[in-house]
C-alpha cells in the first residue's frame, strides 16, 4: 500500500483550485452574447391566474423575451415527473396533479414561477419582471398535513381527492396487532420531524445555450446527477433528444439532496434559449432558494412500541403523515415509503412492524430527499421511542438498547431489509467509553451547582446506503436503475483517466477515486485524473446521492480497473516472455513472480498503444469500462451520544460534548470520511436546535432568508469527538458502506434525548429553540 492508496489521509487534489478562487461553478460560466433570466413568482400560496400582461415588461430596456406558462404548455413542454411509482394499500397508483414548469392557470405555493423575463443584464431582467402584471384570484390555502386531510379543506389537485397522494403500508398488520395484544407495556408518542431547507451555500444556477448551427443544446447546471437530468429532460420534457443535449455539472457547491432534482428553472432556461436563440443564465438568490429548492423531512408520526415484561421489543406500529408540498418532486414519493419505513427496525430485533404512511399535498414548497432522506425520520422515531421507553421503565437507556440489539447477521427485518453485517455493541461501547458515560452523574451534579441543567442522550442509528439492486428497486416502483458506470482510460504515457458516472459536489472524489487507482497500480494520485459531471465525456451514470459513490461508484471503477489489469498483464507477460499468471503489479511495475524481471507500468501502457509487439489477435489500446450493479444496500450504523447543558435563565442549549462512533466499513480516506461526519452532524444538530421552516396559515414562508432561518454557525457547534469501529460490507468488493448521511441521521435524536433528559420532560419539539426550552422549563416549574 502506497502513501496515497486506500486508507491514507491524503489531502485533497481538488482543494488547490478552491482555495485559490479557481473553482468553476455554474454561475462562473460566461458565454458570448449571454442574457439573463429572472422569474416572476407567485406571491400567493394558492390562486387562479386570471391573466398575465407582459406588454409593459417586454417594452423595457434590454428585454429579449417575456414568456409565460401558457406559452410553455403551448410548446408542449412536459410536466415535471415523479420517478418512483408508489401504490396505495388498496392497490391503486398514487394520485398526482400536473406540475408544469411555469403555472399556466393555478399556482399552489408561494414562489411558484408563472413567467420569465430574459434580458441583456440581470438587473434589466429583474426590473422588467416587476412590470409583469399578473391578475390573481386568491384561493384558500392549507399548509399542514393534518389540516389538509380534514373534511372541507382546500383542495389542491382534482386528481387527488382529500389531498391524498397515497395511503401506503408496509409490514404485517395482524402480527403487529397480536404483538400489542400480548404486550406487558406499551410506549406511545406523537413525533414531529420538522421541515428543513437544505441550503447548500451555492445557490442553484443554470446556463442554457442553444447552438442553432448544430441544433445542439448545452446546459450547465448545479446538479448531483447530470446524466439523469439529461435523460429526464429528453425523455419527459420534450426539450431535445438525448444526443442533442449536453449537460455539464461543473464544480457544485454542495447539494445535500436538493440538487438531485430537475427543477422548473432548468427546463425553462433550455426552452427559452432555443426560443430566443441566445445563451441564458439564471442564478437563484437565497430567498428564491428558500422558496423553490426542494425542502426536506416534515413528518407527523403516531408511534407505539410494545414490550414484554423483560423489556424486549415485541412490535412497532407507526402511522406517518408526510407533507409533500404542492407537487410531487422527482423522488419525493419514495422518501417516506421505501427510504423510511424500511429502516424502522433500526438496530433492534423487532419481531413485528406495521407502518402506514399517508402522503399529502399542501400549499407549500415541494418536499423531497434531503441528506439521509427517510432514514433520519425513521431513526428519530425509533430513538425517541427507545429513550422514552427506558425512562418509562426506569432502566438505563444504553442497556435497553443493548438488550434489543440485533447480534447475528445476515438479519432479515420484517420491513424488507436484510442487514448484511454489523456490530452494534462495538459502536455503543466505543461511544459510551469516549463520553465517559459512567462519569455523567458527577458532571450533572457539577453543572447543577453552577445553576445549569445537564442531560445526556443516545442515538443508535442505522442507515441504508447505495440503494440497490436495480432489479429490486424496479420491482418497488423506481423509474431508474441504481447501478454505476466507470471507464478507465490508460494513456500511452501511463497516466490514467477515470470517467465516472457519479458526481462530486464536495465529497472529494477526485482524491478518493484516484487513491483506488494508486493502490492498484502503484502510481501517484497526480498521475490520475477523475472525469465526471459532463454527459459528453462520460457515457452514463446515476450521480451522487444516498452515499452511493463509494460503495457503488468505486466498485464500478474497480471492475473496470480489473479488466485493464487483466489486459495489461497479458501484454506484460508477452513482452517479458513469461506466463500471464506469473505477473504481479507492484509499486508501479509489472513483475514476473520469482524472478527479477520487471517493467514499469508506463512501458506496458506504451506498448498497448504502439501495437508493435502485442500478443496475436489482441486489440491495441488500454481502456475498459464497467457497469456495477450492487447486490444489496449497505448498512452503516453507529452510536451517537450528546451531552448538553441548558441555561435555565435563557433556555439556551449548549452541546458541550458530542461523540460519534460509526461503522462505515472500509474507509478510503479517513480524513474525508471524518469531514463528512462533521458536516452531517452540523446539519443534524441544526435540525435539533435551530432550523425550522415556518409557514403562516395562508402559506407565506416566514423563514425565507438567513435573517429568519437559523443556520448553524461555528459558535453554535462544538468540536466533535469521532470514533470508528469496522465491519466490512460483504456486499461490494471494497467493503465500503458509505458515510455521507450518518451525521444528519444519528444526531437529532441524540440532541433531543439529551435535552429531554436535562429538563426531565417527555418531549420537546424540534427545533428546541431557547424559547421552546425556556417554556418547557417554565411549564414544568409551574406544574411543580
Amino acid at each position: 500500500m502506497g502513501m496515497e492508496g486506500i486508507g491514507q489521509r491524503v489531502v485533497r487534489k481538488e482543494d488547490k483550485r478552491f482555495i485559490t478562487g479557481k473553482g468553476k461553478y455554474t454561475d462562473d460560466v460566461k458565454l458570448q452574447g449571454m442574457t439573463h433570466a429572472h422569474f416572476v413568482r407567485s406571491p400567493h400560496a394558492h390562486a387562479r391566474i386570471r391573466s398575465i400582461d407582459t406588454a409593459a415588461a417586454a417594452a423595457m430596456p434590454g428585454v429579449v423575451a417575456v414568456l409565460t406558462g401558457a406559452e410553455l404548455v403551448g410548446d408542449r413542454i412536459g410536466n415535471l415527473i415523479c420517478g418512483w411509482m408508489i401504490h396505495s394499500k388498496d392497490g391503486s397508483p398514487m394520485k398526482m396533479g400536473a406540475y408544469p414548469a411555469m403555472a399556466p392557470e393555478t399556482v399552489r405555493y408561494v414562489g411558484q414561477a408563472v413567467a420569465v423575463v430574459v434580458a441583456e443584464t440581470k438587473n434589466q431582467a429583474r426590473d422588467a419582471a416587476e412590470a409583469v402584471v399578473v391578475d390573481y384570484e386568491e384561493l384558500p390555502a392549507v399548509t399542514t398535513v393534518l389540516d389538509a386531510i380534514k373534511e372541507g379543506a382546500p383542495q389542491l389537485h382534482p386528481e387527488a381527492p382529500g389531498n391524498r397522494v397515497y395511503e401506503w403500508s408496509l409490514g404485517d398488520k395482524a402480527a403487529t396487532d397480536a404483538a400489542f395484544a400480548g404486550a406487558a407495556q406499551v410506549v406511545s408518542m406523537d413525533i414531529l420531524n420538522n421541515r428543513l431547507v437544505p441550503n447548500p451555500m451555492e445557490p442553484r444556477s443554470a446556463v442554457a445555450n442553444y447552438d442553432a448551427g448544430d441544433d445542439q443544446l448545452t446546459l450547465w447546471t448545479t446538479s448531483q446527477n447530470p446524466h439523469v437530468a439529461r435523460l429526464v429532460l429528453s425523455a419527459f420534457y420534450n426539450i431535445a433528444p438525448e444526443h442533442k443535449l449536453r449537460v455539464i455539472a461543473p464544480d457544485v457547491g454542495g447539494g445535500f439532496g436538493s440538487k438531485i432534482y430537475i427543477y422548473p428553472e432548468e427546463i425553462v432556461c433550455l426552452w427559452a434559449s432555443r426560443k430566443a436563440n441566445r445563451p441564458i443564465k439564471w442564478t437563484s438568490d437565497r430567498t428564491e432558494a428558500f422558496l423553490t429548492d426542494a425542502h426536506g423531512r416534515d413528518h407527523i408520526t403516531k408511534a407505539e412500541m410494545a414490550f414484554d415484561a423483560n423489556h424486549k421489543i415485541l412490535g412497532l406500529r407507526v402511522h406517518t403523515y408526510a407533507n409533500f408540498g404542492a407537487y410531487m418532486s422527482l423522488f419525493s414519493s419514495s422518501v417516506p415509503t421505501y427510504l423510511y419505513a424500511t429502516l424502522l427496525s433500526g438496530q433492534y430485533v423487532i419481531p413485528a412492524i406495521y407502518a402506514e404512511v399517508d402522503g399529502v399535498y399542501t400549499n407549500t414548497v415541494p418536499v423531497d430527499a434531503y441528506r439521509g432522506a427517510g432514514r433520519p425520520e425513521a431513526t428519530y422515531v425509533l430513538e425517541r421511542m427507545m429513550e422514552t421507553a427506558a425512562r418509562q421503565f426506569g432502566v438505563d437507556p444504553a442497556e435497553l438498547r443493548r438488550k434489543n440489539f440485533i447480534t447475528s447477521f445476515p438479519y432479515q427485518t420484517p420491513v424488507i431489509m436484510t442487514y448484511d453485517a454489523g456490530d452494534y455493541n462495538a459502536s455503543l461501547d466505543a461511544a459510551l467509553k469516549a463520553i465517559d458515560y459512567a462519569g455523567f452523574p458527577a458532571r450533572k451534579a457539577e453543572a447543577k451547582a453552577r445553576g445549569k441543567l445537564r442531560g445526556i442522550g443516545l442515538s443508535c442509528y442505522i442507515e441504508a446506503c447505495g440503494i440497490a439492486p436495480s432489479k429490486a428497486v424496479g420491482s418497488l416502483g423506481a423509474g431508474v436503475g441504481l447501478w454505476e458506470s466507470a471507464e478507465v482510460r490508460v494513456n500511452p504515457v501511463g497516466t490514467v483517466e477515470v470517467l465516472t458516472g457519479s458526481h462530486s459536489h464536495g465529497q472529494g472524489h477526485e482524491t478518493t477515486f484516484a487513491q483506488l487507482v494508486s493502490e492498484r497500480l502503484g502510481i501517484g494520485i497526480d498521475q490520475v485524473a477523475i472525469v465526471h459531471g459532463d454527459t459528453d465525456k462520460v457515457q452514463f451514470g446515476m450521480g451522487t446521492y444516498g452515499s452511493r459513490s463509494g460503495a457503488v461508484g468505486m466498485s464500478a471503477i474497480l471492475k473496470a480497473m480489473e479488466k485493464v489489469e487483466t489486459k495489461a498483464k497479458k501484454i506484460a507477460a508477452h513482452l517479458m516472455e513469461a506466463a500471464e499468471g506469473d505477473i504481479v503489479i507492484e509499486g508501479g511495475e509489472f513483475k514476473v513472480a520469482g524472478t527479477d524481471k520487471k517493467m514499469p507500468f508506463a512501458l506496458v501502457a506504451l506498448a498497448a498503444y504502439t501495437g508493435h509487439n502485442l500478443p496475436d489477435g489482441m486489440e491495441p489500446g488500454l481502456k475498459e469500462g464497467a457497469f456495477y450493479d450492487p447486490t444489496n444496500f449497505t448498512f452503516p450504523a453507529g452510536t451517537y451520544v450528546c451531552e448538553a447543558e441548558i441555561d435555565p435563565d435563557t433556555g439556551k442549549t449548549t452541546v458541550v460534548n458530542f461523540v460519534a462512533a460509526d461503522d462505515f466499513g472500509r474507509m478510503i480516506n479517513p480524513m474525508i470520511v471524518e469531514g463528512q461526519v462533521h458536516g452531517g452532524l452540523a446539519q443534524g444538530i441544526g435540525q435539533a436546535l435551530l432550523e425550522g421552516t415556518v409557514y403562516t396559515d395562508d402559506g407565506q414562508l416566514m423563514t425565507a432568508s438567513y435573517m429568519d432561518y437559523a443556520m448553524p454557525r461555528a459558535d453554535d457547534l462544538p468540536s466533535f469527538d469521532l470514533h470508528h469501529t469496522t465491519t466490512l460490507c460483504p456486499g461490494n468488493p471494497l467493503g465500503i458502506k458509505g458515510c455521507g448521511e450518518a451525521g444528519a441521521i444519528g444526531s437529532p435524536p441524540a440532541v433531543i434525548n439529551a435535552i429531554t433528559d436535562a429538563l426531565g420532560v417527555r418531549d420537546i419539539a424540534m427545533p428546541a429553540t431557547p424559547a421552546r426550552v425556556w417554556n418547557a422549563i417554565h411549564g414544568r416549574m409551574a406544574a411543580e
Partner: protein, 161 residues
C-alpha cells in the same frame, strides 16, 4: 453608468458599471474574478468577503462606487505565485473545505481575523468571530482547526523578533 477604478490584487482595474452595482458583482462580472462568491442576499453568509484597504468587508454590502479608488484583495490575490498563503495551506492541510463554495470568504475572514489578533487566537474566539460566515459542508470543525494552525504559524515570526 459610472467608471469605477480600483486596485485589485495589486492590479489597476477600471470598468463602466451602473451606480447600483455591488462590489461583488463588479469583481465577478466586470473584472472577471469569480473566486469571490455570492451565497445570500442579506449579507449573512460571508461567501463574498474580500479585503478593502486591508479590512475584511462583505462585498455584497458595498457598492462598487464606494470602493472606487481603494485597494481590494480577493482570494485570487492571496498566494504569492505558487506559494500559498499560510491560511490557504492550512485549509488544505486540515480539510477545512468540502464543496469549496464558502471557502474564499472563509479564508479572507480568517486572514483578517489572524491579522487583527496578531495570531493570538483560541477556539472560542475563532468560533465567535466566524459568526458572519456560513459553511454548510464542514460543520466548522476542520475550519476552526485550520485557522488555529495558521494563526500559530503566522505568529511565529513576530515571536522570534
Amino acid at each position: 453608468m459610472t467608471t469605477v477604478s480600483m486596485t485589485v490584487n495589486g492590479r489597476q482595474v477600471s470598468a463602466d458599471v451602473e451606480d447600483r452595482t455591488l462590489l461583488v458583482d463588479y469583481l465577478r462580472n466586470a473584472i472577471g474574478l469569480t473566486g469571490t462568491h455570492v451565497g445570500c442576499d442579506t449579507s449573512q453568509c460571508g461567501a463574498c468577503v474580500v479585503h478593502l484597504d486591508g479590512r475584511a468587508v462583505k462585498a455584497c454590502t458595498c457598492l462598487a462606487v464606494q470602493a472606487s479608488g481603494s485597494s481590494v484583495t480577493t482570494v485570487e490575490g492571496l498566494a504569492k505565485g505558487d506559494e500559498l498563503h499560510p491560511v490557504q495551506a492550512a485549509f488544505r492541510e486540515h480539510h477545512g473545505l468540502q464543496c469549496g463554495f464558502c471557502t474564499p470568504g472563509m479564508i479572507m475572514t480568517a486572514v483578517d481575523m489572524i491579522n487583527r489578533h496578531g495570531g493570538n487566537l483560541d477556539e472560542a474566539t475563532v468560533r465567535h468571530e466566524l459568526e458572519g460566515n456560513i459553511c454548510r459542508c464542514t460543520g466548522y470543525h476542520n475550519i476552526v482547526k485550520a485557522i488555529l494552525d495558521a494563526a500559530s504559524k503566522m505568529r511565529m515570526p513576530a515571536a522570534a523578533e
